[in-house]
Amino acid sequence: MDAILLQILNGLDKGSAYALIALGLTLIFGTLGVVNFAHGALFMIGAFCAVTVQRLFSLSFETIDETQTDFLGNALKVKTPYVEAWFGPQMGGAIIDWAVPLAILFAIPIMVFVGYAMERGLIKHFYKRPHADQILVTFGLAIVLQEVIKYFYGANPIQTPAPESLSGIVNLGAIIGMDIVYPVWRVVYFLFSLLVIGGIFSFLQFTTFGMVVRAGMADRETVGLLGINIDKRFTVMFGIAAAVAGLAGVMYTPINSPNYHMGMDFLVLSFVVVVVGGMGSLPGAVLAGFLLGILESFASMNEIKSIIPGIDQIIIYVVAIIILLTRPRGLMGRKGVMED
Amino acid sequence: MGILEVKGVNKRFGGLQALGDVNLSVKENSVHAIIGPNGAGKSTLLNCLVGKLIPDTGSVMFDGQSVLGRAPYEINQMGISRVFQTPEIFGELSVMENMMIPCFAKRDGAFEMNAIGSVLSQKDIIEKAEAMLKDMNMADKRHMNAASLSRGDKRRLEIGMCLSQEPRLLLLDEPTAGMARADTNNTIDLLKQISDERDITIAIIEHDMHVVFSLADRITVLAQGTPLVEDEPQNIRGNPKVREAYLGESG
């Protein structure tokens, strides 16, 4: 029982990332009808926002501290981060420590801008082109973004720790009288993703803007006939989708040190998630994200691997292939999306 | 016994009864029109005939054989060709190539792996396609890209492609929708000529009464998924039920 619960938990953090990326992919696909192969790159850019913020906060100046000496007896050079100088050592230290969560504040405007620029600058020219062209151009864009990041940040993974108070482990089982030890940050990540998902859904459900967008997803032409400028709203949705992917990336950095190809790694799986959930279905994307994350974590249990070796490597693909062949519309796909 | 026999066909989409107990018999070598107001189930019925949809109950027999459960290409190989509301042609290919493809389908069946011989060495296919282009008055456009043809020419090409398969039943889905008067009249003349000169049955779904009354030997009126009347054109004109069905729509 403990083991099963633990596996479910283990699946949740990866599942959260899948769900967030897949949610953005689906938003873009549902609103703009574009298959965005550059979405993984947005996730990666988000992660590097966190890296950048952490580096910015740690920018330091050097002073010579006469009171301390090194082993040669010279006065010691001490590095002081600017934030500590400005806000005092305690406050400054806390800011540096909390760089990753604080990066969210920076990442949102940056990601919205990146998404907006992508849509206006490139992708809008591809609405009427075949899906193959959309795949190709966004694939090319993904390569470019990836290489830009590689140029500035190098090819090695960059450690980006979580705040100290959130980087330990916690016994989640204590409440129900069991022993399930789990890293705190992963719990944070899961709750954060629920928050973002909930935010997006309520935005679409309860605001006029969201209602129009949903109507547009269902029937673009009719909404256009009502004299509503749906394209403009869709552009905004692209920015929001980019922000969601970016946030997923920011918060993922303490779980896996970011590198320039993390986006591509996640992209393939996120596409699989979208297809399993049902192209164009937002709840489907979220559901499939968590399901596949948990499934993957179960498949990597030793008990299961000893029965079917290598199953953890391929389980998601196998499930996707079976679903695509038996339920072409995915778990919750709508009729008429991408059929023909 | 007609060449096409539809018996007791029902089709539901969720809560909507698209077709309710449809019976239809199309006599060989006749022109049979199916008319009805919007949403009467004309297109659903047509899709059931060509294998795009499978009815919930009922039977569709073509020349004594059931078409149900067969894929569209199998039904086509049985001898039913379909002309679409917006012409479905191979836009990126030349007019000549467009015409050759159905000739191949007629000669070689649903699949034939001839990957080495040149298309140009297929003399019989070329001859046949050229003859059909001539019949359609399109011989001078043989090298044009099909996508660059005018709307009327696309329609002619599509009809020609269907005819070169020598079908026994030609189904037309609003063949003059969106056409100018002149193009419509040309199409009517073409269809008349086809039905006079060839050994072929035509079933046509149409909105335009001018087209229907110029062509049809027999008319079925569909309303709310059920056949209202089936009769000869002159009897349909004055039928109060038909008027009601149509007035109900416009009122």
Partner: protein, 400 residues
Amino acid sequence: MLGMNKNDTRMLLLVAALTMLAPFILNPFPTDSGLAQFNAGYPDLMQRFVIFGIFAIGFNILFGLTGYLSFGHAAFLGVGSYSAVWMFKLLAMNVIPAILLSVAMAGIFALLIGYVSLRRSGIYFSILTLAFAQMSFNLAYSVLTPITNGETGLQLNLDDPRILGVSQTADGSIPVTNLFGLEMRSTFEMAVGPWAFQFNAGYYLCALILLAVFYLSIRIFRSPFGLMLKAVKSNQQRMNYTGLNTRPYTLAAFVISGMYAGLAGGLLASMDPLAGAERMQWTASGEVVLMTILGGAGTLIGPVLGAGFIKYFENIFSKINESVLHSWFSILPDGLEDLLVTLVYPFVGKGWHMTLGILFVLVVVFLPGGLVEGGQRIVSWLRSKKSDDKAANGKTEPAE
């Protein structure tokens, strides 16, 4: 000639001339000149040109004709490589059985994957092929290690059985790949003045095979089967309502292109007998897509040009480093020199992939027909300019 029209014959002859004379064409600079580093007439590089040319020609039969965009073709290349290396380990170092097995194995894999993937079309097909390829890659890396030797990659050993050959040569080393005794690595060097040209047996074998499969692809393009594939791309609905079953057509195209990929993989292993899982990764599939698009999908010669172009510039661009740039811009004033070097540097050397990505985007946006379309545009522009000049018309507009 050979059942082709004049244009196609001319194209085949052009490719024949390019491949046969490649050792000259690719070595335009004298060996001791500063530009010698831009020569590309080395055996291993030339081999890669033609091998990836074969890969792209095959991919084009699927993507160019039917429009089905596979993102998993590298898997077949990998299968081909593994099969060939196993043949070298178990049977003999002759490349013929190895290549035959590569093609056959790739064909079987393509049949299985194609049968499943082709049940869907459009974006679903792309994602299915992507999933299959990524699955093969993961398997090759993990569970199938006994067959693929995992991360290290599959290599020849001194104790391999090689039942029709020898496990090791008289001097105790691993035997080399050969064609009935002709060693693939044997190279004849010809010095003409300051130039040195290299003629490599392996390269010429690959080039001859390229010519053969290029000819085959011309025949397929012009055949009734090829016409049907173009029709699938153009309008599947009409195909179905014309009594044609699209699935066997697309499956046949998929298998043929998979076999081309297997052939390419087998040749890679025949030139250098090792195989690694990274050959199967989806970015490798992306590369062949790129070659085909860049050259011109759906055209005959496009994929060959695209493969040559990308492999050539990959080699050249990745050789350019900071000092090379400095020497180029050294005539400029210092500040400007540094600025230019800084500006150009991200795009060369290790930054070659960035250039590649930008090129990809630009081609898809502005030149969906690839280099072939670009060439045609230039030709028609020159023609219209000429006629305009004749008419002494001042208003020349480039032809769109």
